[in-house]
Structure formats: C-alpha cells, structure tokens
C-alpha cells in the first residue's frame, strides 16, 4: 500500500538532493536520470498491481478518510503516473543534449522533479483539498520553469499563464469550500456517496459547473484556453514536451475523475455542455494552429484541439467513451511530447523554428523527417498509428449516441490537423531553405534523435498493440466510473481510528 506514495516521495527526495548538489555535473545528471528511470519502474509496478487489485488505498498517517487524507491508486491513476514518469524521463534525457553540463541551468532538474511530484500527487490523491495542494505544487514549479531561462519578451508571454492559473486556483479553492459546505466532506468517496443521495439538488449541478470551469481552465477548454498557446512556445524544447504532455492532461484527468468518480452520473445537462465546449475547442484550436507560422506555436495550438477530442469523449459519458478518452490521453501524451522534442531538434538544426526561414531538413536529416512524419500522421489520425484508434473509438461512440454534428466537427478537425502538419512538413522538411547554408549538422542532434526514436517506438507500439492498450483503458474506465467500488475500497482500509464508528 505504501507503493502509492512512492511516485510522490521519490521526485521530492530527488529534488532536494539535486538542490543540495548545487552545481550541474555529469554525476548529478546521472542521478536525475536514474531517479526518473526508477520512478518509471515504480509507476509500472503500480499499474500492474492496480490492474490486478482494482484499488490501492493508502491512508496517510494511518487516519481513515473521515479524519485524514487518503491516496487512492486505480488503473486510471496508475496509467497517468506511468505517462508522467515516461515523459519526464524523456525530457530529462533529451535535455542532457541541449547544453554542455557547464551551461545547464542548475535549478532546471530540481524544478522538474518538484513538478513531477505535484503532477503525480494530483493523480493519486483521493481528496479535493489535497488535489488543490497538488495543483499548487505543480503550478509553482511550472511558473518557475516557465521563466527560468526567459528573457524580457518571454516573461511578458508568461504573464497570462501566471495570472490565469492564479485565478483558476482561487476559483478551485472556492469550489472546495462550496463542496465542503454542501456535503461536509472533501474525500472523493464520501462526496460521491453524499452527492448520489441528492442528484436533483440544483446545488450539486452548480458545483459540477463550477468544477467544470476550474478544471476546464486547467485543461485549456474553450473559452478558457487563452493562457496556453502564447506561453508554451517560450519554453525550451524538453520542458515544452513535459508541459504539453502532462499539465493540460492533469486537467483532463481531473475532469474524468470528478465526473466519473465523484459527481453523480445523472448530470446529463452538464455532460452535454462539456461535449459542445469540447467541439468548439477542437475546431478553434486547429484553426489557431493553421494561423501560426512557427513549429512550437502550431504544436501549442494543437494541444487545445486534441484536448477537445478527449473532453468530447468525457462529455459523451458512456463507459466506452471513457475508455476512448483514456486511450486518447495515452496516445496524445506520447505523440505530443515527442513532436515537441522533434520540433526542438529541427529548430536546433535550422537555427530557427520560423517556418519561413527553414527548409531542406529532409536532405540533411532524413531520420528526423521519418520520426516527424510518423508522429504527425499519428496526431492527424492515420491508421495504423495510435491516433487513428483513439479517434476511431471516439467517433464510434459519437455515432452510437447520434451526435452527428460533433462527429462532423471531429472529422473536420482531424483533416485540418493533417493540413497543419503538412504545413510544417512542407516548409521545414521539403521546401528549399531561403538561405541554403542555414541548415547545419549538429552533434547534439544525434543524442536527441535517439531519445525521440525511443518515444516514437513506444508510440508505434501503442498503435500496433492498440487492442491490448485499449483493454487497459477499458479496465481503467470501468474502475474510474465504479463509485460503489471506490467507496468500498476507501472504507475497507485498516486505520488506527475506530473504523466501525459512523
């Protein structure tokens, strides 16, 4: 049961150790990479255990959910922890190539570990206020990372991120207070039990809408996504990969958790609203991507468009839809973060990531071109790559429910995704560069390519082994929606305060 705390504890201990170590050195890098690999191992062990047992509950401090905070790992949480560990490992390894040790920012690895600790706590917590704490840990680390290597222009771009997320946190705190006033508890299991007793209460619907705003803002849902597309491009490539992979997906995960596990399943109106907001996000996100002219900008807008797909599946709200959403999250995190890394390598080789001044990469770096094509086509959803299966499942659910307009929107968004990916392909890889000498060989590119190749292989495995991955997603979806099982698991755990008292 203590396995549940390790994904939070390991990064924290690593972060403090790195802080004391101070100066970057090769040995310090080895420590960071080893810790990231260990975290991935722990996450996989956690996944294996939860697939077997359903729920692993850790009563922190041995207090029951009535008095203390519980951490709960179910297959969904374990999948997310695995993805965050995987992305962090890739980002850390890729980052090693970016600078020589002497030029590395001493705080970067430390802050990445704090960020991962916050992200993992958000996945594992079974308590609404503790979730707020996890968000704060994660956000504070992200504020620091966002402006760590920033110049004046970057700080200006980062400001909306700070302002919007602070507002979101305040709203979240208010929502937690509201929930406590309504139900007298903040524990997910107890909230679910008490909310289920009064599903028609308008205050429950108000709480659901409030949480929708808060987590929609974190996830980057229309019309609350303004903060994202301008702030992510200022990050260095490995950090952009980590941010784009994990941070908005924490929002999506929390939407899955609150609507699946915590709130009553009868809130049809809120679910429909969620689906339509997702539809708007899909289209507006991809239009934004088409309007951009540099790689990181295009990719940043794509995050939004993809968030739309995942949230659309949540809004459709069948068990299969949840499974589709979880599959899509798995696909998206790997593909999106590897695309940011590939974009970073392309920018390094071309000395710019402005599409107008790039070109000829296909001739200089054909390997990079293949990696990019695989991931870009996967993002657009061509079979047999992983993106196809995710979109296919979502579209099937949409057609089953007769949501033809939303399905049409999703298809249009997919086609436009392909168009914008081809825009990068044509300008950066295929066309001649305006200044032919601009593209250079760079020894750092080789190590970067090795890391991204690893990610692309995993992503290919997700596409080719889609059936197995989808089974895991289905099990995660079933567990995430099983409110009675969650409640039983949380209250079955042995604690030192008398568990038999009401």
């Amino acid at each position: 049961m203590n396995l549940v705390i390790l994904p939070v504890l390991l990064p924290l201990v690593t972060a403090v150790t790195l802080l004391f170590w101070g100066r970057p050195s090769p040995a310090r890098r080895v420590l960071a990479a080893t810790s990231a690999a260990a975290q991935l191992t722990v996450a996989l062990a956690l996944l294996a255990r939860t697939l077997e047992a359903g729920w692993l509950v850790l009563p922190v401090g041995a207090w029951s959910a009535r008095l203390g905070i519980v951490l709960v790992a179910d297959p969904l949480a374990a999948v997310m922890v695995g993805l965050s560990s995987f992305t962090a490992l890739a980002a850390v390894l890729y980052g090693f190539a970016e600078f020589r040790t002497a030029l590395e920012h001493p705080l970067r690895l430390t802050l990445v570990q704090f960020l991962v600790a916050g992200i993992n706590l958000a996945f594992l917590t079974g308590d609404l206020f503790n979730l707020f704490v996890a968000f704060e840990v994660m956000l504070i680390a992200s504020y620091a990372l966002l402006t760590l290597e920033a110049d004046d222009w970057d700080v200006k771009q980062a400001f909306p991120y700070l302002a919007v997320n602070l507002t979101g946190s305040t709203l979240f705190l208010c929502a937690a207070g509201f929930a406590y006033r309504l139900f007298g508890t903040l524990n997910f299991a107890d909230l679910a039990a008490r909310a289920a007793a009064q599903p028609e209460d308008p205050r429950v619907i108000a709480l659901a809408l409030w949480l929708l705003v808060v987590f929609g803002l974190k996830a980057g849902l229309f019309p609350l996504y303004y903060w994202l597309p301008n702030s992510y491009p200022i990050l260095p490539a490995p950090l952009a990969a980590l941010f784009s992979g994990m941070l908005t997906k924490v929002g999506v995960y929390v939407l899955l958790r609150t609507f699946g596990t915590v709130l009553p399943h009868g809130l049809t109106g809120v679910h429909t609203l969620l689906a339509w907001l997702a539809g708007a996000t899909m289209i507006l996100g991809v239009l934004g991507a088409l309007s951009r002219n540099f790689i990181r900008g295009i990719l940043s807008y794509h995050i939004l468009s993809q968030i739309g797909f995942m949230v659309l599946a949540i809004g459709l709200f069948t068990e299969l839809a949840f499974a589709a959403s979880i599959f899509y999250i798995i696909h998206h995190i790997i593909v999106k973060s590897s695309l940011f890394l590939i974009g970073g390598t392309a920018a390094l080789l071309s000395r710019t990531d402005n599409l107008d001044r790039m070109g000829n990469l296909w001739r200089h770096a054909p390997g990079l071109g293949v990696l990019f094509l695989l991931q870009a086509l996967s993002l657009a959803g061509l079979p047999p790559l992983s993106g196809f299966w995710g979109k296919y499942a979502i579209l099937v659910v949409g057609l089953e429910q007769g949501e033809y307009v939303l399905v049409a929107l999703a298809i249009v968004a997919s086609i436009l995704t392909l168009v914008s990916m081809l825009k990068i392909w044509n300008a950066a890889f295929w066309a001649d560069a305006p200044e032919p000498a601009a593209t250079q060989q760079d020894p750092r590119g080789r190590w970067m390519n090795r890391v991204t190749t690893g990610m692309v292989l995993v992503s290919l495995a997700v596409g080719l082994g889609a059936e197995g991955v989808f089974r895991v997603a289905q099990q995660a979806a079933a567990r995430a929606r099983d409110q009675a099982g969650y409640l039983r698991a949380v209250h079955a755990v042995v604690t030192k305060d008398a568990p038999d008292r009401p």
Binding site: N2, L9, R23, G61, F99, A102, L103, P106, E149
Partner: protein, 182 residues
C-alpha cells in the same frame, strides 16, 4: 531607499527579534494539539529575520545569517520527508506518527513527545528558509544591490543568462552617483 537609520527602530528590533523567536518557539511546541505549528512558527521567525535585515541592512545581514537560507529550507524539507517516510521501513503508512508519554520528568512534569514535533520542525525550517530568502533577494534588488553573492549565483542562475539584478545594480549605482553630484 537607504534613508537615515532610525536609532529607535534599531534598538527596538534588537529586543523584538528575541521576543518574536520566543513566540515562534511557543507556537511550534503548542502546535501539536492547539492552533500553532511549524508553518506559523516559521513565519514568525522569518518576520524576526526580516525586521533584523531592515534594521541592519542587507550587507550586514549577510554576516549575521551565514550560509544560504535555501539550504536551510532544503534541510527542513528533507527532515519532514524523512519523518514521514520512516514508518515505511516498518511497513506502516506514510506520515504515521508515534508518541511517548513520560511522567515525572524533572522540571517539566508530564511530557508528551512524538514524531510530529520533528515533522513540524522540518516545516518550520522550510518556511523560515524560503520566506527570508524571498524577502532578502527582493529587498536587495529593489535597493539596487546584487541579490545573490557569487556562490549563490553559481547555484541558482544559468551561466548563459545575465542576472536580472545586474541591470538594477547598474541603475542603482548611477542613481547614487547622480545623487552625490549636487
């Protein structure tokens, strides 16, 4: 910013510093079952340090607080994590705490001691370290002085960036020179 120093403020702060830390210790110890605890005690101690730095000035403060408050915070976090993680070794849940109740201790009578105090001390150190460092850095740079000493610069800033406070420092020097001119 560096106006004439106030004698009254100087003397007062020297007394208040000890008073505040006494209050902080009291808050830290009573925090187990009553309002108080490591966080609020840490804030009280940090306020005492900040007051002292206002009275003495940043440069003199560096001679009082040797070493880097961030490392103090790191030690605190490590202590808190260690206290939390220790039960893991025995297969008990994370953060479980243990107590001993002693009676007949000389001078104190009954004592109820436990691992929560260790955890709270960790939180205390963390809060003192971070809060005082934040304020020291900010006051230094608003006065046009360098916020970090060379050793800290190597720890906390990239070799590629020019420190933000360098510009502030240059401006501050210009300002002081022009102030001396007339």
């Amino acid at each position: 910013m560096n106006g004439p120093r106030s004698y009254l403020f100087d003397r007062l702060v020297r007394v208040v510093f000890f008073l505040l830390n006494g209050v902080a210790l009291y808050l830290l110890l009573r925090g187990h079952n009553l309002p108080g605890g490591g966080f609020i005690a840490g804030l009280a101690s940090a306020i005492s340090l900040i007051l002292l730095s206002l009275a003495l000035g940043g440069e003199a403060m560096r001679r009082v607080v040797r070493g880097d408050p961030v490392l103090l915070a790191g030690a605190g976090l490590l202590l808190a994590l260690g206290t939390g993680a220790a039960p893991l070794l025995a297969g008990r849940p994370f953060l479980e705490h243990f107590h001993v109740h002693l009676s007949g201790v000389p001078l104190l009578g009954e004592v109820h001691a436990g691992t929560p105090l260790l955890f709270d001390t960790g939180v205390y150190l963390l809060v003192v370290g971070i809060t005082s460092k934040l304020v020291f850095v900010l006051t230094q740079s608003t006065r046009g002085l360098r916020a970090l000493v060379a050793a800290e610069e190597r720890r906390y800033s990239s070799p590629l960036e020019s420190p933000i406070d360098e510009a502030a420092a240059r401006e501050g020097e210009n300002h002081r020179e022009s102030a001396h001119e007339p």
